[in-house]
Structures are given as structure tokens and as C-alpha cells.
């Protein structure tokens, strides 16, 4: 029953890295269900496996064992190129350090994921304008990242994350590099995307204030959800 309404279903996830010959278990027998349309925050100490879990959900990394089903797709069965295509259609990324391309304008950064689609130039422009309007930066579309504040850069990154209308947005410490005011603006924006546009948001954060914005808060410690 839970699977029918879950956008993310993880079962028996194990993830082990090797440092030389020594195995390091980061995630152990982890199960997780994320309901469609929820806004979840994942907290935990450094090294607890938060980012690894986020990467597995986003299709950037594969578990050592276990089943990963996200947005209806069994990620374990997909090749790297299939995963890349799947990510472009289903996942919106928000990174801690924004990760905008410095040689492209705000609009061009937002347009990047659309270059992988068959949309025409005018359709892409419309979508870019809409995404920038949603994040309140339509008037900054021709600015380069260096001409924007940190908060504005993150909002452009969020516009890039939603321009392809993904099913789920994964955010890795989205307020980690921002001052309080900019962080609040970004969190308010994520909340709006969740409540008004129905986007599922899975956010990794150290910040308790950020976590409070989420409807579900989870804690990960030593590779297991508490």
C-alpha cells in the first residue's frame, strides 16, 4: 500500500566503500519510503551517510545491495546512460555551492537541462522565463553568476532544478553557503514549490531551522535511519 503512494522506495540498502583493503559500511539494511508530494529533511552528523543516501535516491550512485525504486523506475537495472537520461527527466538538483556555470548567464544556466530535450528554442525560452519568474529572478536573466548574490545564485540553481518539471527535487545542504536571510528565502521558495507546485523535495541539511520547514524530518546515524 505504501509503495502505491511512494515516489521513493528503498529496501535493504547497503553501501560499502573500500579504503585500501578495509571495507567501510556507510548504509546498512536501510529501508525508506518517501510519499509523493512530501517535503522531507534528512539530518545527521557528518559521515552518517546522508549525502550517500541522497546520491542513491538521485541516481548518482548505486548501492552495494538492495532495491532502489524512484519515480517508478528500478534504478539498479539501468545503465549509466539510461540513468543520465532518467535524471534529466525526473530529478532536479540543488547543491550547497549552487554550481552554476560561470560563463553562462542565469537564463542560459537554467536552460541547460532543456538542451537535452527536443523542445524548440522558443519553447525553451518560455520555460526558462517561467522558472525564473517562479524564483523571482526574471529581471536577472541576463546576469552572469558573478553579478548575483549567493541567495540569488541559489534561486537560479533552483530554477534550473525545476525547469524540466522533475518529479522530485533533491537538495544537498541548499542553505549551507547562505546567510540567514537568503537561507530563509530559499527555504520559503522550496516550501512554495512543494505546496503550490506539488514537487516532492528531499533535502539533506545540518541546519535545524531548515529542517523545520520540512513536513517530515528524519535522522540518519551510523548508516541507519532513527
Amino acid at each position: 500500500m505504501a509503495e502505491a503512494t511512494s515516489i521513493v522506495t528503498l529496501k535493504g540498502i547497503n553501501k560499502t566503500f573500500h579504503r585500501g583493503k578495509e571495507p567501510i559500511t556507510v548504509l546498512e539494511s536501510l529501508d525508506l519510503d518517501v510519499p509523493t508530494g512530501s517535503f522531507e529533511a534528512l539530518m545527521g552528523p557528518s559521515g552518517s551517510g546522508k549525502s550517500t543516501l541522497l546520491n542513491i535516491i538521485a541516481g548518482l550512485d548505486r548501492p552495494t545491495s538492495g532495491e532502489v525504486k524512484v519515480a517508478g523506475a528500478n534504478l539498479a537495472a539501468m545503465s549509466d546512460s539510461q540513468l543520465a537520461k532518467w535524471r534529466s527527466q525526473n530529478i532536479g538538483f540543488v547543491f550547497q555551492s549552487f554550481n552554476l556555470i560561470p560563463v553562462l548567464t542565469a537564463a542560459q544556466n537554467v536552460e541547460l537541462p532543456l538542451l537535452l530535450t527536443s523542445l524548440s528554442g522558443s519553447e525553451r525560452t518560455k520555460r526558462v522565463q517561467t522558472a525564473l519568474r517562479v524564483v523571482g529572478l526574471e529581471d536577472r536573466m541576463h546576469h552572469y553568476p558573478r553579478q548575483l548574490s549567493g541567495g540569488q545564485e541559489q534561486r537560479v540553481a533552483i530554477a534550473r532544478a525545476i525547469v524540466n518539471d522533475p518529479k522530485i527535487i533533491v537538495a544537498d545542504e541548499p542553505t549551507g553557503d547562505l546567510d540567514r536571510k537568503s537561507a530563509d528565502d530559499v527555504l520559503t521558495l522550496l516550501d512554495k514549490l512543494n505546496k503550490e507546485l506539488g514537487k516532492t523535495i528531499f533535502m539533506v541539511t545540518h541546519d535545524p531551522n531548515a529542517a523545520e520547514k520540512a513536513s517530515v524530518q528524519r535522522k540518519l546515524d551510523k548508516g541507519a535511519l532513527q
Binding site: A58, A84, K85, S88
Partner: protein, 389 residues
């Protein structure tokens, strides 16, 4: 925006480095162009040799002479339209206005009929034929020796002793750009009858024949040589191109060195490009991770890097071509044609050399980027995202 926008914008991300790399490629193309021009111009005479002419010389060496009566035997061979002969004289200017020029004693009745790439006004040709000590020389040599038609000219030889006095009967101009404008020709009889030529009486250096059908070149060469097989002085007959290349053969070591230097220049250019691309790719590893994360497949990363490298190389190549054209065709070229006409009657970079240089730059740009591009495209996304340098 399209995919190429990103690759293009990356070009000038590090302006100083890109400009220096472009200049390095341009200089490499310039040096490559200059060397290839020198080699091409060196070979140009042979490359543009008439296909309907055969040269017959002594089988042992060009320095050995043939009996003059051989010319009659050659002329009787079916398929031979005309034949003439000459002896190498080796010209030197007593006033040393030029260190050396080609001078021949030739058959005045037939020389300009067979060597028809040189144009002599009919009245000057007639005058030459009627003047036993008459000479005709190239327009560049005439300018160098400061003579005009009707002047008297004294030259020396590195073979025959003393002063040799001539009357300038005519000045020839070339009908094809690679023809030597720096040579002099006079009557063979004048040399043959002079007592200073007592060891070369009734001897000729080589026979130059014009044939009716160029496709019969090989069979006619064999037919000519067969006539003299049983005689004391055997011959070897070859195409004019092969004849000219046999002279150039002495310089083959220099030409081989030029070829090697050309390759080294291209190798250096590739290494400079590879270094620039490797640095850029390393700096952008994190960024490529971001692109991969948002869905760009590895082939796009490979494409971005290769396109950027090829663009840098092509821009450098175009700058190099502009420099080569400017410096060689409008600078060095005219100077060399004026001052080294004996070696290089014509010195301009052929368009194919420029094209080869540009294509080589583009291809080598791609080759230089292939390893860093493949490595970047195969990097695991999460490893790339962790790299912050």
C-alpha cells in the same frame, strides 16, 4: 543557446592562457608553413617539369660527356619530335654581383624550340642565332648583371679558364612561374671551337628531347638507351622531372631534415595544446560532474572538450595562415625571388600548404584533447562533484 555555446564560451574563460596557446599554434603553423614552402618551392621545378620531354645523359654520371653525334641518333628515333643539347658551363660574375648562376653552351638552332617555357622576342632570337658569341639570359640575371640587349658581357666559368666575352643578343622571360629566370645560354660552337675546351671537343653534356606522345615516355627512353648499349659511352634516358630530381638528390639530406623539423613542429604544437586542454579539464572536473548530474551523458562531456580543443587549434591555425601569407608571400618571398632566384625563382606559399597546416592544426587539436576528454567523460559523477580544484 545551443550546445556549442558552452564550448565556445569556455574558449576564453582563461583569456591569457587561451591567447598564448593560440599564438603558440599560430607560430607553429608559421614555421611549418615556411618550411613546407621552402621544400615545395625547391621541388617546384621538378614538379612542373614538362611531361613531354626526355633527358639523355651519360650512364655513369652527369659530369661525364657524350659524343655530339649521339644527337643525330636520338633524332632518328620514331616518336622524337625534336631534340637539342647542351653542355654545363657554370657561370660566375667577375664583378661578383652574384655568386653563381646556371650557364649552358647549347645548340642555338633548337634550344628555345625544345625549352619552350622561355619566351624570347623573335628579333632577339634571330639575332642570337646569327651572332656566334651571342648570349641570351634570363630577365632577373640581366638585371643582376646590369646588362641589356646589345651590351657586351664578360663572365667566368668554374670549369673553363679565363674571361669569356659575349654580346647580349636577347633576354628571355618565363612562360611558367617556376622557370629559372637566372640562367644564361650561348652557342655550343663558341665553346667547342675555343682552345680552352680542348678536352671536350665535339662533346655534349646531355640531350633534351621533345616527344610526340607523353604516354610513350618510358618506351622511348628504353629505345634511346638501346641504341647506345653497345657503344663506349652508354646512356640513361629519363623524364625531365627525374632529370631535375637527380640534381636535387644532392640536397636530399637537407630536405629530409626539413621534413623532420616539420614533424617536430607539429609534435610541439600538439603538446602545447594537450597541456592547455589538460589544465582546463582538470579545473572543470567539478563542473563536468554538475553537467553529468543534471543529465548530460558522457558523450557530451567528450564533445565539449574536443570541440573546445579543435576550436582553439583552428583559431591558432587561421592566425598562423594569416601570418604565413603576410610574412612569406608579401615579405620574405619577393626578397628571396630577387636575391636567390637561382635556387628559388618563385617563392610563395602554395594554397595547399596553408590548407594542410590548417587541417593538421584541427586534427592535432582533437588528438591533443582525446585523452583528457575520455578521462573526464569517464569520471564517476560523485567523484567529479567532490573535486573542488
Amino acid at each position: 543557446m545551443n550546445i556549442a555555446t558552452y564550448a565556445r564560451r569556455n574558449l576564453f574563460r582563461r583569456k591569457g592562457r587561451t591567447i598564448l596557446t593560440i599564438l603558440a599554434v599560430a607560430v607553429a603553423v608559421l614555421i611549418f608553413g615556411a618550411i613546407r614552402t621552402a621544400v615545395a618551392m625547391w621541388n617546384a621545378g621538378a614538379d612542373e617539369a614538362a611531361v613531354d620531354r626526355l633527358a639523355t645523359r651519360h650512364k655513369v654520371s652527369i659530369t661525364m660527356q657524350l659524343p655530339k653525334r649521339y644527337i643525330d641518333d636520338v633524332r632518328k628515333v620514331p616518336g622524337i619530335k625534336a631534340a637539342t643539347w647542351a653542355v654545363w658551363f657554370g657561370g660566375k660574375d667577375p664583378k661578383e654581383r652574384t655568386p653563381f648562376f646556371a650557364a649552358f653552351a647549347a645548340d642555338h638552332n633548337t634550344w628555345f624550340d625544345v625549352l619552350d617555357e622561355m619566351s624570347v622576342p623573335p628579333d632577339q632570337l634571330a639575332k642570337w642565332k646569327a651572332t656566334p658569341n651571342g648570349t641570351i639570359l634570363g630577365d632577373v640575371l640581366a638585371k643582376t648583371l646590369e646588362v641589356k640587349v646589345g651590351d657586351r658581357l664578360t663572365i667566368n666559368s668554374d670549369i673553363y679558364p679565363g674571361d669569356w666575352e659575349f654580346e647580349v643578343s636577347g633576354i628571355y622571360t618565363p612562360l611558367r612561374k617556376t622557370a629559372d629566370r637566372n640562367s644564361l645560354v650561348f652557342h655550343w660552337d663558341y665553346l667547342n671551337n675555343d682552345p680552352r675546351n680542348e678536352f671536350g671537343k665535339e662533346q655534349i653534356g646531355w640531350v633534351m628531347s621533345q616527344i610526340s606522345n607523353a604516354s610513350e615516355s618510358a618506351s622511348l627512353s628504353k629505345a634511346i638507351d638501346k641504341i647506345f648499349d653497345e657503344r663506349d659511352d652508354q646512356t640513361v634516358t629519363m623524364s625531365e622531372r627525374a632529370f631535375q630530381l637527380s640534381f636535387l638528390g644532392a640536397f636530399s639530406a637537407i630536405l629530409t631534415a626539413f621534413d623532420l623539423v616539420s614533424l617536430v613542429i607539429l609534435l610541439i604544437m600538439t603538446m602545447i595544446l594537450a597541456n592547455t586542454i589538460a589544465m582546463s579539464v582538470r579545473e572543470r572536473t567539478h563542473e563536468y560532474g554538475v553537467l553529468r548530474a543534471i543529465g548530460f551523458p558522457p558523450s557530451y562531456i567528450l564533445g565539449f572538450i574536443l570541440v573546445e580543443a579543435v576550436l582553439i587549434a583552428l583559431v591558432g591555425g587561421l592566425v598562423g595562415i594569416a601570418l604565413t601569407t603576410l610574412l612569406i608571400n608579401f615579405g620574405m618571398g619577393p626578397f628571396i625571388e630577387q636575391n636567390m632566384a637561382g635556387l628559388f625563382p618563385y617563392f610563395k606559399t602554395p594554397p595547399w600548404v596553408l590548407m594542410v597546416a590548417l587541417v593538421a592544426a584541427g586534427v592535432l587539436g582533437g588528438i591533443a584533447a582525446i585523452v583528457p576528454a575520455i578521462r573526464a567523460s569517464r569520471h564517476k559523477v560523485i567523484d567529479s562533484l567532490r573535486r573542488l580544484d
